[in-house]
């Protein structure tokens, strides 16, 4: 009863979750071409596209992709053998376990007339497949958490995937082990199948002796060693009633090992109903995994194959723009969070200094999905995504190494476009306006400037590097301003640029940080080092400007937080 309630609840949650996740594919608008195509149009285009594909020669392409990419996963094999092996073990082992054991009533029992879960080869295969999954899990944990993995790319979603799989596997093995030794389980079976009455004590004893001796049952009353005659009598009874659906438990080698280990405490375990406990744990873990699948990393089990196959039969030049928009949106869910992009990311190294996970492509993708899902993001996460997204140098390596061929570069381009639309463009361009508005020199000119700096923190000067402090030797000759190619572009440069280079140096000498930071000149500086090269006093004018930009961006980041 409880089992059914949980099963149907899990199935319902799973189904709703799947519909919810898949509906995103028809809603998210990523590229400019997707604007203006309503969801209904995308769904109908998809239905037409699928029908047309299934009845065309493209079905061969689909089958090819299904075998080479989905089943054999050659893209992963090419990228990283160890990773492929771990993944094959987990996914291959699990799928086989699911078909043979989890769905046995629907699959195995239909295929094999004499199927019993307690008969060979099923006993052996169940443990073997389980071992394969556990080996894959061990490899995955080793790879992720012990092997050289310098960049933090494993997150909660990865840990959840590993933990839930491990719980399912281990609870299964423990369940099998404690069931082997369980005397009460043995009793139930005898009552149901042996046909022996309560008064046939000698036969009952003989059968029990045989099972204690050969099948690992731990009995409170019947204990070895047994004489040959009893065992022979037991064997005869066994052959009559049990053999047709019971292979030796040794074949379930993992469960049998557990049985051996728990043998000394088998009776108390049995009395405490521990096998039932493990049974609950096992099926609950399976149901939790099932119900949560659409919302977890495991959604890729569905999304990635679908993406791979759809992508294989679509062409940018030929396909319906509505379907291209859908394909683009599917990329976000096709990501398996494998982290290959982050491992090869050209700017991932910056993460050590700027602890913003949005620098890393694997995390930035998740952030993009959050933005698209329409969950209103506040200023702080948006500022973080803006920073991370613009540290990217568009080198395209992530796209090159993505094992499933997601066009990550294209996604980043559209992410930046979208960020700009909602007021979060390239930080430098943003800071140019935001800082000028906050520290408007025109307004400040009306106020008398205090020569004792209001900002004590800045009084010590520029702290980022030794050379930035050189502003203090400026004697105001204006050479820097005179050689500046940007200043030279304007009739009235002060109007556009705010403080000019020599004025910035002067403001710093007067410890007027606000004046310096509000100058648009900082952001229009081309960093050509003309000023610094020409300075007769050795003031590192450009380096000072760089430092001020660092401080301004840091200030804006703090303001958003």
């Amino acid at each position: 009863m409880i089992y059914s309630i949980f099963l149907y609840t899990a199935l319902a949650v799973f189904a709703i979750g799947m519909v919810y996740r898949v509906s995103g594919w028809f809603q998210y608008k990523i590229g400019p071409a997707s604007e203006g195509i309503p969801t209904s149009r995308r769904i109908s285009a998809a239905a037409r596209g699928i029908t047309a594909t299934l009845f065309s020669g493209k079905i061969r392409t689909l089958l090819g992709v299904f075998f080479t990419d989905v089943l054999w996963q050659r893209w992963l094999l090419k990228e990283d053998f160890l990773r492929w092996l771990a993944h094959m073990c987990m996914y291959g082992g699990f799928v086989l376990l699911l078909l043979m054991h989890g769905l046995d009533k629907l699959v195995t029992a239909v295929l094999f007339d004499n199927y019993y879960p307690t008969l060979n080869p099923f006993v052996f295969l169940r443990d073997f497949f389980g071992l394969v999954v556990i080996a894959g899990l061990a490899l995955a944990v080793f790879r992720r958490y012990f092997l050289k993995a310098p960049r933090p790319k494993s997150t909660g979603v990865d840990a959840y995937a590993i933990v839930i799989l491990a719980v399912i596997m281990i609870s299964g093995v423990l369940l099998e082990g404690t069931k082997i030794v369980s005397h009460s389980r043995y009793q139930e079976m005898v009552e149901e199948y042996s046909g022996l009455g309560e008064d046939e004590t000698a036969d009952l004893k003989a059968l029990e002796a045989y099972w204690v001796d050969k099948f690992g049952v731990v009995s409170p009353s019947v204990k070895g060693p047994f004489d040959k005659k009893t065992l022979e009598a037991g064997k005869a009874l066994h052959n009559m009633s049990c053999e047709s659906c019971h292979s030796r438990p040794q074949w379930g080698f993992m469960g049998y090992t557990v049985a051996k280990v728990v043998k000394p405490v088998a009776l108390p375990l049995d009395r405490a109903n521990v096998p039932v406990l493990f049974w609950y744990l096992h099926f609950m873990a399976c149901f939790v995994g099932l119900a949560y699948l659409p919302f977890s990393k495991f959604f890729h089990i569905f999304a990635t194959p679908v993406y791979l196959m759809v992508d294989a039969v679509m062409k940018e030049s030929e396909s319906d723009p509505a379907n291209l928009a859908t394909l683009e949106a599917m990329q976000l869910d096709a990501c398996t969070h494998c982290g290959q992009c982050t491992i090869r990311c050209s700017v991932a190294v910056a993460f050590y200094e700027i602890a913003n996970p949005n620098i890393l492509p694997s995390e930035k993708l998740a952030a993009f999905r959050t933005i698209l899902s329409g969950r209103g993001l506040s200023k702080r996460p948006l500022t973080a995504i803006q920073e991370g997204s613009h540290i990217c140098t568009d080198c395209g390596r992530c796209t090159d190494v993505c094992p499933i061929g997601i066009n990550l570069e294209g996604l980043w381009f559209n992410l930046n476009r979208r960020l700009a639309e909602v007021g979060y463009p390239k930080p430098e361009a943003w800071a140019r306006k935001a800082m000028a508005a906050e520290y408007d020199p025109a307004k400040m000119q009306e106020k008398p400037l205090s020569l004792t700096p209001a900002d004590r923190g800045f009084a010590g000067g520029l702290t980022g590097s030794a050379q930035a402090n050189t502003f203090s030797v400026c004697f105001g000759c204006q050479t820097c301003t005179n050689v500046c190619p940007v200043v030279g572009m304007y009739e009235n440069p002060k109007e556009i640029l705010g403080l000019l280079p020599h004025e910035i140096m002067h403001a710093l000498a007067l410890k007027q940080k606000a004046l310096a930071l509000g100058s648009t000149m900082l952001w229009d500086c081309v960093t050509c080092y003309m000023c610094q090269e020409h300075c007769p006093q050795g003031v590192r004018v450009t380096d000072v400007i760089y430092e001020l930009k660092n401080q301004a961006l840091k200030h804006l980041k703090q303001r958003a937080a």
Partner: protein, 297 residues
């Protein structure tokens, strides 16, 4: 002669011809190049954001080259300037170097400060020498007028980058003249190309680019020559964009120096990637004394 070749982020994806032409020319001049796939961003774009992230990014690349016991050959001038600056900052500030090395240690790396950082032009003019190059030229140019764009970050700050005389540089002009082309004198040759302001202030960026192009054109140049990925993209793809956005039609095509040199060394046009530019430069072969001796295979 062997170097670790640093390509950076732009060249492999947006300026492949800079890589192929440089490899071909350097190979013909007997230079061995070693590739390190694990190189990351040089750090240049990070300087606006965070000085330490900038130094760290550069230092990781330097440490990777040091691990191979090789000096670094950089094609991009912004990358060259970045590595020089980062190395200088770490030399000046032992605390900073230790902090950076503390982070690099997580990846089993360490920057010791022993390697040399060289730009392509430094290797060509100093390590190989103009006379050696002259000996390899099979068909020089005649009547070709080139405007040399020096590139800010290779040239300045001179005490740190140590590339050439910052006020009257001649290294690039000598490299151009060895090909038989004339290096024209033009007032804006040491100015910025405008690339650093892209996306921050496009109008100003375009104005600066346009000013340089006009100036070079006025000096009678047929082509602009560059040695930096940012500058080349600015004078090629961005020049084209400026022309279409502003409706100007007074183009000055830009050629990468190894392409200019490679052609008169008889290197295949396809290898040099002459046809890969947004603004056509293939007409330059007409200035060769003997028309391209080696045709595309």
């Amino acid at each position: 002669m062997k170097f670790a070749l640093f390509l950076g982020c732009n060249i492999p994806i947006r300026l492949k011809q800079y890589e192929t032409s440089s490899r071909a020319v350097l190979e013909a001049l007997g230079v061995n190049l070693f590739d390190i796939a694990d190189f990351n961003c040089c750090g240049y774009p990070l300087r606006n954001v965070d000085l330490k992230a900038f130094v760290l990014s550069a230092a990781r690349n330097l440490a990777l080259a040091e691990k191979q016991n090789l000096d670094l050959l950089v094609l991009c001038q912004c990358g060259y300037g970045t590595f020089r600056m980062a190395a200088h900052l770490m030399k000046e500030d032992a605390g900073l170097r230790e902090e950076v090395n503390g982070i690099l240690a997580k990846e089993g790396l360490r920057y010791g400060g022993d390697l040399q950082i060289k730009h392509l032009f430094t290797v060509l003019s100093k390590d190989i020498g103009v006379e050696t190059i002259r000996g390899k030229i099979t068909s020089p140019y005649r009547g070709l007028r080139i405007a040399t764009h020096y590139g800010c970050h290779a040239l300045r700050p001179s005490n740190i980058v140590q590339f050439d005389d910052p006020f009257a540089p001649s290294l690039f002009d000598r490299l151009v003249e060895v090909t038989g082309a004339e290096s024209v004198d033009w007032p804006a040759r040491l100015d910025c190309c405008g690339a650093p302001l892209l996306e921050t202030n496009d109008e100003l960026s375009f104005d600066l680019t346009q000013k340089k192009l006009d100036d070079a054109k006025k000096a009678g140049a047929h082509y602009m020559a560059t040695g930096c990925s940012f500058c080349q993209i600015q004078f090629d793809a961005i020049q084209k964009r400026i022309a279409s956005e502003r409706g100007t039609n007074n183009q000055l095509p830009a050629i990468l120096y190894p392409q200019l040199l490679g052609l008169c060394m008889g290197i295949d046009k396809g290898v040099l990637g002459l046809e890969k530019h947004q603004i056509d430069i293939t007409g330059i072969v007409s200035y060769l004394v003997a028309p391209q001796p080696v045709e595309s295979a």
